[in-house]
Structures are given as C-alpha cells and as structure tokens.
C-alpha cells in the first residue's frame, strides 16, 4: 500500500545525489504515492539548518555528518538518523600539475595506486621540509566528510602526518578546480564530477581514488531528522523503497547515458554529460594523457551499496577520535553506531523482498573475495572490501583499533 506524503529533499550538486534525483525524476517516488520536491543547496550547513527548521524532511548528507550532529560536534546539533546509504565510492584525490611533477620524479605513477603514489607524496613532503618550503595545502569539502577522513587515513598510512606535515583546508566542491588552478591549494579530495572538472581544465592529475583507499566504502547517506523518522514512518519507508528502486536503475549500465544526461541538466549539475560519464564507467582521465579503469569507482546499488552498515558509522567514529574531533567514550561510540539505522532499512524494504545481509555490522577488510551473504530470498554479494594498507577494522574490537591508531 502506498503512503501519501509531501517530502522536500535537499541535495548538494554532486554526482552521488543521483539516487535521490533519479528517484524523483524517473517516477519511483511517485509510484510510492510520494510527492517529492528536490532543492539544490549551496552548503552542507544550509542543509543541516533547513532540516532543523523543517524545510527539508530528508537530505543528501556526507556519511559522517549525521554522526557528528548526534555527537554534538556541529553548531545547531540536532538528532538525525541515517537509514539508507546513497552508494559506495565516488571520490578521488587530485593534485596540481606542479605537485604531480614532483611526485613523478619521486616514483609516482603511472596509475592511481595509493601505496606507490602516497609513498612518492611522502618523499615530496620530506624534500620540502628539508628545503624549508611551506607545507603542502590540501582541501576537502567539510571537516565531517568521508573526504577528510580518507585523505587523512591515506596520508597517515603513507607516513605523512596530516596534522603537521600538510595543511588541510575547506573549499566548496564547485570551487576546487579553480583553487587548484590558481595555486591556492596543492591538492584536494572531493566527489565527482569535480575531479574530472579539474582534469578537463588542465589543472591537475588524479593520484588516487576513494575506491582504492578504502574499497567499497560509504560516501553519502540519506539524513533524516529523528523526529520526522519517528512521526512519519510510513512515508519514510515509502521513500526508502523509492530510493532502493532508483539505486537499481542508477546501477544498471543500460541507463548510464540517460542518467548522465539527467544529472547534466542546468537544474542539477549543469555540466556537459561527457564529463559525467567517467564516474559511471570508472574510466577516469587522469590528467596526464592516461586513463585508468576503476571498476568500483562509484557503486550506486550492487554489493549492498544502499545498506547503512553500522560498522561504517563506527569507522567514521574511530577517525573522529583519532583526529581529535571527538573524545572517546562507550556512550558516544554507541550513539555513533545507532545513528545508522539498518532496522528502518530492513522494515521498509521487506515488502519488496530486497536481499538483506544477515548482520548490521561487518569486519571491514575481512572479505578478500566476493562472497554471497544473507538469509533472504535473493542473493546479495559483498566485497572484496577493505583498506589499501591491509589493516582490518573489527567493530567489535573498537577499543583495540582506537589504541592502535597513532
């Protein structure tokens, strides 16, 4: 039975809003009896504020954002829940041509291997320090973002201390390419299409991707105010079903041309569709005349991409603690974990027999080969997943993981 409700959804102009946009534009929301209005926003802060006053019932959010809000780390912290993930992957790290030149001289390339390119970057950082040059400046879009935590994880694993060896600043995604071209920053980690835009402008070189730093890692979620979730469950459940169907449509390569055309519209990203195809095909132009094929660059549906894994929430929490954004306590860890709501996901998608994993958490990095999982009717294949440095994140051994982080 369809629910009837009006929902206003906020989103930022990034490709990973595709599942939300297609849910509305391709009629999946309408099929569920929902009247959904999409509103493009200019900052994550606006999205949070407009959820706070009820302008938006739900929104496109950075995966760590609802956790940060629930931990009281942001201004106007309000209680949010994340019952649905909007895909896996979708980011890359791009550096200026000048920095790429120096990395290349230190043994970087030819592809996007995070170990080789990170090691080369480490040498450049070392050389700069020895020569008395100022530290490199990297940009991310928001402190509580997958970008910030992945970039830091990658740098730290390659021997670069993100706190002292480099400077990390915030730049809005549409301004990244300009900031790189003008030398305001030396590199950035941002979602697509903004890396490809920088490459097309001739400003930089993609050196690694989210998909290779942490394979099959979460990027954006649907953030919903806890109050809306509590008071409007039928509508929320209907929305999740619409999003789930939309994710299937977005993930089907037969629809990629249409999806790129949809996203390229001036009301959404306002960019030529050919700049949007790399994210869907995973064939990225790196910026030095070469391309790299990254099959899991952006995964909107397959491999449990829409499931709100509580282990993902806990990993983000572990990084908040690692970089001093949050002070660890068992209560806070629980609060972070319970921000992600697989229970809502399970209930909402039960009527359409969506395949479900058997558990709400998984050991990140444990699957070295694709594995069918789950007890429900249709099969669900997960993995391989995990971190490029081979480390394992076991959410049941959070304290040990926190202790092992330098």
């Amino acid at each position: 039975m369809a629910a009837t409700a009006d929902i206003t959804l906020g989103y930022m102009p990034l490709f990973d809003s595709a599942v939300l946009i297609a849910a509305v534009e391709k009629g999946f929301a309408g099929d569920e009896g929902l009247s959904v209005q999409l509103v493009r926003e200019t900052s994550w802060a606006n999205i949070r504020d407009r959820i706070a006053v009820g302008h938006f019932q739900a929104a496109h959010m950075l995966a760590p954002m609802p956790i940060a809000s629930n931990l009281g780390l942001t201004p106007l912290s309000l209680e949010l829940v994340a019952p649905f993930a909007l895909g896996l992957g979708g980011n890359a790290v791009t550096v200026s041509r000048a920095l790429w030149g120096r990395m290349f001289a230190e043994g970087a390339g030819p592809g996007t291997d995070p170990s080789a390119n990170g090691t080369a970057l480490g040498h450049v950082v070392e050389n700069r320090r020895a020569a008395g040059e100022p530290p490199l400046r990297f940009a991310v879009v928001h402190p509580f973002s997958g970008h910030n935590y992945e970039l830091r994880y990658w740098l730290a694993a390659c021997g670069v201390d993100p706190e002292t060896d480099v400077e990390i600043v915030m730049v809005p995604p549409p301004l990244m390419a300009d900031a790189l071209a003008t030398g305001a920053i030396d590199g950035f980690c941002a979602g697509e299409p903004w890396n490809s835009v920088a490459i097309a402008d001739g400003a930089g070189r993609i050196v690694t991707t989210k998909a290779s730093i942490w394979r099959l890692s979460p990027e954006k979620v649907l953030g919903v105010s806890a109050r809306f979730a509590a008071e409007n469950r039928p509508a929320l459940d209907a929305l999740l079903r619409a999003l789930y169907r939309s994710s299937i449509w977005c993930g089907d390569s037969a629809n990629h041309e249409e999806l790129a055309a949809l996203m390229s519209g001036s009301e959404h990203l306002g960019l030529p569709r050919e700049r949007l195809m790399p994210i869907l095909t995973g064939h990225l132009a790196l910026g030095d005349g070469t391309t790299d094929a990254i099959p899991e660059f952006f995964v909107p549906h397959a491999k449990g991409a829409t499931f709100p894994w509580q282990s993902h929430a806990l990993w983000f929490y572990s990084q908040m603690v690692r970089w001093g954004h949050a002070k660890h306590s068992p209560t806070k860890a629980e609060r972070a974990r319970d921000t992600y709501r697989p229970d809502i996901y399970r209930q909402a998608l039960k009527p359409i027999s969506a395949p479900m994993p058997g558990a709400n958490m998984k050991v990140e990095g444990a699957l070295t080969a694709a594995a069918p999982v789950g007890a429900s009717e249709k099969g669900l294949v997960l993995g391989p997943d995990g971190f490029f440095d081979g480390r394992i994140f076991d959410p049941d051994r959070l304290d040990a993981y926190l202790a092992s982080q330098s």
């Binding site: 200019t42 900052s43 994550w44 802060a45 606006n46 504020d49 407009r50 706070a52 006053v53 009820g54 302008h55 780390l73 942001t74 201004p75 106007l76 912290s77 879009v141 928001h142 402190p143 600043v169 915030m170 730049v171 809005p172 549409p174 301004l175 305001a184 954004h325």
Partner: protein, 197 residues
C-alpha cells in the same frame, strides 16, 4: 562588559546588500562593524578582528569553510552557537527565509545578539523586495517597448491606427490566454524573419 561595543563582521558577496546592513548596524549604534565580500582570506580577518558576531548570507557556498574554521582552528576563538539560540527555531526559520545566518561567539548573551539578527533579517527582506521591484520595473519597461514595436508593425502592414493595433494585440492575447507582451514579442520576432535582407 555589558557596555562594551560588539565587534560585528558582515560577510556578503553582494556588496550593495552588505553596505545596507552595515548602515543599519551603525544606525543602531554599533560602531565596530566590518564588511568583507570575498571569503578568501577571511581567516586572517577573523583573527585580527576577533568578532563577537558574524553575519553571513546563506547563498555563500563558503559557509562550510567558515564553520570548519570554528571547528578546527586553534587560532580562532570558538564561536559555536548559531543564530540566537539553538532552541529558537522560529528565529532560525525567519533568518533562513530571509537568507541570512549569524555565527555568535559562545557565551554571548542572547538579548544582545537578537536585535542584530532582527536588523539583518529586516534588511535582507527589504533588499530582496527592492530587487524584485526593480526587476519588475525593468521587465515592464521592456514589455512596453516591445508592444510599441509590435503596434508599429501592425499599423504599417495593415494600414490601421494605433488604437486598433493595440486592440488586435489584446484580443489575440486574450484568445490565446497569453500576455500581450508575449504576443508582441512573437510578432516582432516573426516580422524580423520576414524582413528583406
């Protein structure tokens, strides 16, 4: 402390609107008001000014940058409260509707900040009304020009008077349920295409 002048920083990419807000704050007796249009390098400005209140427009994509400075920078005093009071959602709503956001140093008393935000909201609303009226006036003027040209075309090609030409435009518009200016625009365009090169 209670009589100390508040230091206020206005960040608005729209220079005219920013100056209107600045004037309003000065009228209200605030003498320590600074304005920046470009968020580039705003960190240094904040460090130098140590503002008690920052007013920024919501359209500014650099809001996230501003918040992150408060979040991460050790050199900036940490203003964490937003708007007037995080529990005052009607105030937040009024501010958002007007397109303004305020960052307030934690610990600053609410009654001292509320008038500032009220003033900013009022000025933002007045400014957008002014802009709307200006746009309407402009399009009215353009409409009048195109209607005059269409009348001229009709008068010449049909050999009719001005009043009759206008009537013809109006009847066509009514029949097609469109604006007179739209009909006039199509006529002018079509006449342009039919003209001898």
């Amino acid at each position: 402390m209670t009589h100390r002048d508040l230091t206020i920083l206005v960040i608005d990419e729209n220079a005219i609107r920013a100056s209107i807000i600045e004037a309003g704050l000065r009228d209200a007796g605030h003498s320590r008001v600074s304005v920046v249009h470009d968020v580039h390098g705003v960190g240094r400005v904040i460090e130098r000014l140590q503002p008690d209140v920052i007013v920024i427009d919501l359209e500014n994509p650099n809001r996230d940058l501003l918040e992150s400075m408060f979040q991460l920078s050790r050199s900036v005093k940490r203003p964490i409260a937003m708007f007037v009071d995080r529990s005052d959602s009607s105030m937040i709503e009024a501010a958002i509707d007007a397109g303004v956001s305020a960052y307030v140093v934690d610990g600053l008393r609410q009654e001292r900040v509320k008038p500032i935000l009220d003033m900013a909201i009022g000025r933002f609303n007045a400014f957008s009304r002014m802009e709307r009226e200006l746009a309407e006036a402009r399009s009215e003027l353009a409409d009048r020009k195109v209607i005059d040209r269409a009348k001229g075309i009709l008068m010449k090609s049909r050999g009719i008077g001005e009043e009759e030409a206008y009537k013809l435009l109006r009847t066509t518009a009514m029949n097609q349920n469109r604006k007179i200016a739209e009909i006039a625009q199509s006529l002018v365009l079509a006449a342009g295409l039919l003209e001898d090169p």
